[in-house]
Amino acid sequence: MKNIEFRTATSAQGGLVVMGGVPGVAAGSRVQLRDHAGRIRSGLVIRAADDAVLVEVFEGTDELDLERTWVRFLDEPFKLPVSRDIMGRIFNGSGLPRDGRPPIVSADRRDVNGEPLNPAARAYPREFIQTGISAIDGMNSLTRGQKLPIFSGGGLPHNRVAAQIVRQAKLLGEEAAEFVVVFAAFGASHADARFFQESFEESGVLNKVVMFLNLADEPVIERLLTPRAALTAAEYLAFDLDYHVLVVMTDMTAYAEALREVAVLRGDVPARKGYPGYLYSDLAEIYERAGRIKNRRGSITMIPVLSMPSDDITHPIPDLTGYITEGQIVLGRELANQGVYPPVTVLPSLSRLMKDGVGKNFTREDHPHVASQLFASYAKALEVRGLAAIIGAEELSDADRRTLEFADAFERRFIGQGEDEDRSIHETLNLAWDLLSMLPAESLIRVSEDELAKYHKGAEA
């Protein structure tokens, strides 16, 4: 079947081609189309019956002349050739080289869809990764094998934050970053792609990075493949070659929009805001590929970046992502406007795996309590700040005024830090105590009395 070209397309519209009379085509099989100009396009069988086969074409169906379109069914799913040579290479969204170098030749070619990991085979992520960013390490810490997205918005420095994490991420006790990086961009601008490339270059990790780029002016449907190709590479690096892999993907919103576009063409019933009901499962297929496996050394830690349409966290894309990932780092416009970098809005941010990766045996015994206390004190402080805006700061009690000062200092000194500032977890925790010491000891009930005695610098303690 692989070698036969069929010229039986009966309709083509918006990326979908219907082929008549090709019996025995496998669902999900890859397809190659040759158009009248000799250009090769690739596609996927999304519906198979003997009398009609529906093909999704990644490069779109523009200018397809049905009479002069030849189609080959390759009889296998989309596969990515993998070998050690992928390191340092740049591919397009479907895994072909875009760095002018020869294609990867390997007998080891893997279905980009992967297979679901058996929950009984997973190992629970517990090892603390120090990112050097206080708002993350101190309050929303990342563990090896976690999927922790950055929720952002147009114009916010999510790329800079992601790049800083890549530069600084390390396990405690290790000198340098020992991660390899898989970077996937879909619908990203050329400028964004260049930014990451340069940042990897500067930090000297370029030869440990594999890139998959589908840029803003490139075919939309290919975006559905890009994260899958990237994760196939990541799985190979992590579980065959024992690397700890950090996967950065941007921008999940562009991915979801591409999925919606295709769903509309297929006529799928929309659920919310025109997104298909299976957006959740589809995103989960991607995000759940992060993790660790028992008896394997490598791991996949995932940092997807997504921009929240109109900064709305309840929009289906961030919402469904939040329902799948193990927390989220939320960047906020308000802090950014005040010049705070990284503008991490800590209250809606969360790391679900933090509870199992910090504390006595991992970072420092006071860490979980300090984090909890910072959250509580800052939440309280924001209430006071809201009150001050109504009744005026003069009307506040002394205690409330101290609380306000705490909030300001917390934002400037704890959340805010330099783009090249790499704080150790001890520095972060000590800084936290400096700030908590601005508050009376008896108001700090999330930390223990022993911890207060040891770390609180106030007279009352």
Binding site: G24, V269, E288, L387, I391
Partner: protein, 597 residues
């Protein structure tokens, strides 16, 4: 033998005459399994439990002759199954770390022999009815697995095996049915998951399910045999709360169904359950737990099946006379799986893409909870606790709103509380329980006669403080009277000293009913003492400075449920803290006498 006509996502159209809706089918060279969901003449529509990529029109398909069923017998406890009861540990041994397709492994191990002890009252020649106990197997140290006669069987027991070791494939008895046929009995039997298992009659639920979580047990109780929902936006704590319940509740069997959620969460349960001890029996928790896992990256049709598999397993243990709790995380993912299939079938969506039968399916599912009298004459119960994941945290969406009408206990999680790291983030104003009256009886008899009034007083205090907070947010705290300020302070004390209960706090993760009540009563006592002083003219400012308030907030983490004597000593000393102020603000009797003419 039939054939595949068309493949469309998880749905395949088959040429398969004489099948019936619900029948299991095996399809294609890979041998993928699914079930028939529609028929039209000689063609049938089937949904497959596995990914359909690679299937081709023309490949074979066959009907298997039975509906989706589960195997019920020894070997269930401690296991982890997928959404159609494939044992994931065994699947891993066969197919490696990733779940390959078409793997056929029996749900229960066939090579293992179990020590069967026949029930002495069962004699050959006696009559046997479905649900009767044939004997038992001590499956784990804490759980005696009662071997039941399969439901619907009725006849004369011809033979029952003597005490000894038997594998599941060996017959342990024979029964002669009314029509003369002879049926073999085994340590296990099968039951179709979409059919509720029969029982003698429904019973009233009487005892509260103790979860050790104060906001649940003390404020919004659930009964053994009741139905509860935990709705909440992402990250609000649904899974943590369900895991807490799975850990600490006083049920005898816990079925944990991960339906369309994270793989790591199941790994977490698999890792901690064997290490933790059941607070009620002292045995490892895994001995009473079983897991059903269809994670979000596993095929969507099996997700739809998974909660039926879970509830059938729950009913089976109920029929042995056990109190069973099933937690389902998340019912929204189940509803979405339903929606996805309905969409592909071209069924008319009514709200947000969901089919019209969403409400009735949900109701029928929750209806399988309850306390019953079993055929064997015991009492057993299934308590059902479903998480709901509303898009955007909007409780007016279809799954949440339908569920809310079905269940009796509603533990509403709030994003605001979770953001402030007030855990469990159960909103004390939005939540409700229809079981308070029944629970009150138990608390009055078992813990303290004043439970109901104390609970009401605390809730009133919380509601009042909500009002006051609104005023404060408009005009500042100075606008409040001393009485109001003290009310606000006391409500804060209740929130931090009682409602907040961290799952990660070793001392406070579980609170016994006695500890729960002791704390509640103590904090109310502080409130009343303060109020008395305020009425005597003491300014709230003075009271708020009392060190007692900060101390009382720590009591919950300082004294575990096994250390109540020390807690009670502190409670007994509450009046002492107020004594100086009382001295100050009470007009001495003598001056009073002089002033009266």
């Amino acid at each position: 033998m039939g054939a595949i006509l068309e493949i469309n996502g998880p749905l395949v159209k088959l040429e398969l005459p004489q099948t019936v809706i619900g029948e299991q089918v095996r399809v294609g060279r890979m041998g993928l399994v699914g079930e028939v969901i529609g028929r039209d003449g000689d063609t049938a529509l089937a949904q497959l439990y596995e990914d359909t990529a690679g299937l081709r029109p023309g490949e074979e398909a066959e009907g298997l002759g039975w509906p989706l069923s589960v195997e019920l017998g020894p070997g269930l406890l401690g296991a982890i199954f997928d959404g159609v009861q494939r044992p994931l540990q065994a699947v891993r041994e066969q197919s490696g770390d990733r779940i390959a397709r078409g793997v056929a492994v029996p749900s229960l191990p066939r090579d293992k022999a179990w020590h069967f002890v026949p029930d002495p009252t069962r004699q050959a020649g006696g009559m046997l009815t479905g649900g009767d106990v044939l004997g038992s197997v001590q499956e784990t140290e804490s759980i005696l697995h009662r071997i039941l006669t399969p439901p619907l069987i009725q006849g004369e027991l011809l033979e029952l095996a003597p005490e000894g070791d038997y594998t599941l494939d060996e017959a342990i008895g024979r029964v002669k049915l009314a029509d003369g046929r002879i049926e073999k009995l085994h340590l296990f039997h099968r039951w179709p998951v979409r059919t509720p298992r029969p029982f003698k009659q429904r019973d009233h639920a009487v005892a509260p399910l103790i979860t050790g979580q104060r906001i649940l047990d003390t404020f919004y109780p659930l009964l053994k045999g009741g139905k509860a929902a935990i709705p909440g936006p992402f990250g609000a704590g649904k899974t943590m709360l369900q895991q807490q319940i799975a850990r600490w509740c006083n049920a005898e069997i816990v079925i944990y169904v991960g339906c369309g959620e994270r793989g790591n969460e199941l790994t977490d349960v698999l890792e901690f359950m064997p290490e933790l001890k059941d607070p009620h029996t002292g045995r490892p928790l895994m001995e009473r737990t079983l897991l059903v896992a269809n994670t979000s990256n596993m095929p969507v049709v099996a997700r739809e099946a998974s909660i039926y598999v879970g509830i059938t397993l729950a009913e089976y243990f109920r029929d042995q006379g056990y109190d069973v709790v099933m937690v389902a995380d998340s019912t929204s993912r189940w509803a979405e799986a339903l929606r996805e299939v309905a969409g592909r079938l071209g069924q008319m969506p009514v709200e947000e893409g969901y089919p019209a039968y969403l409400g009735s399916r949900l109701a029928a599912f929750y209806e399988r909870a309850g306390r019953v009298e079993t055929f064997a004459g015991d009492h057993g119960s299934v308590t059902l606790i479903g998480a709901v994941s509303p898009p955007g945290g909007d409780f007016s969406e279809p799954v949440t709103s339908h569920t809310k009408e079905i269940i009796q206990t509603f533990w509403a999680l709030s994003k605001e509380l979770a953001d402030a790291r007030h855990y469990p983030a159960v909103d004390w104003l939005e939540s409700f329980s229809g079981y308070v009256k029944s629970a009150a009886k138990w608390w009055a008899e078992t813990v303290d006669p004043n439970w109901e009034s104390a609970r009401a007083e605390a809730l009133d205090l919380l509601a009042a403080s909500e009002e006051l907070q609104r005023i404060v947010n408009l005009v500042g705290v100075e606008a409040l009277s001393s009485e109001q300020r003290w009310t606000l302070e006391a409500a804060g004390l209740i929130k931090e000293g009682l409602l907040q209960q961290s799952a990660t706090d070793d001392v406070d993760s579980f609170a016994s009913p006695e500890k729960q009540y002791a704390l509640l009563a103590a904090l109310l006592d502080i409130y009343r003492h303060g109020m008395r002083l305020v009425k005597l003219g003491a300014p709230a400012r003075r009271l708020i400075q009392l060190p007692l308030l900060a101390q009382a907030r720590r009591w919950k983490s300082q004294h575990g449920s096994d250390d109540l004597a020390a807690l009670k000593a502190k409670i007994a000393a509450i009046p002492d803290s107020f004594e100086p102020l009382i001295q100050e603000y009470t007009v001495p009797l003598s001056t009073l006498r002089e002033a009266t003419p």
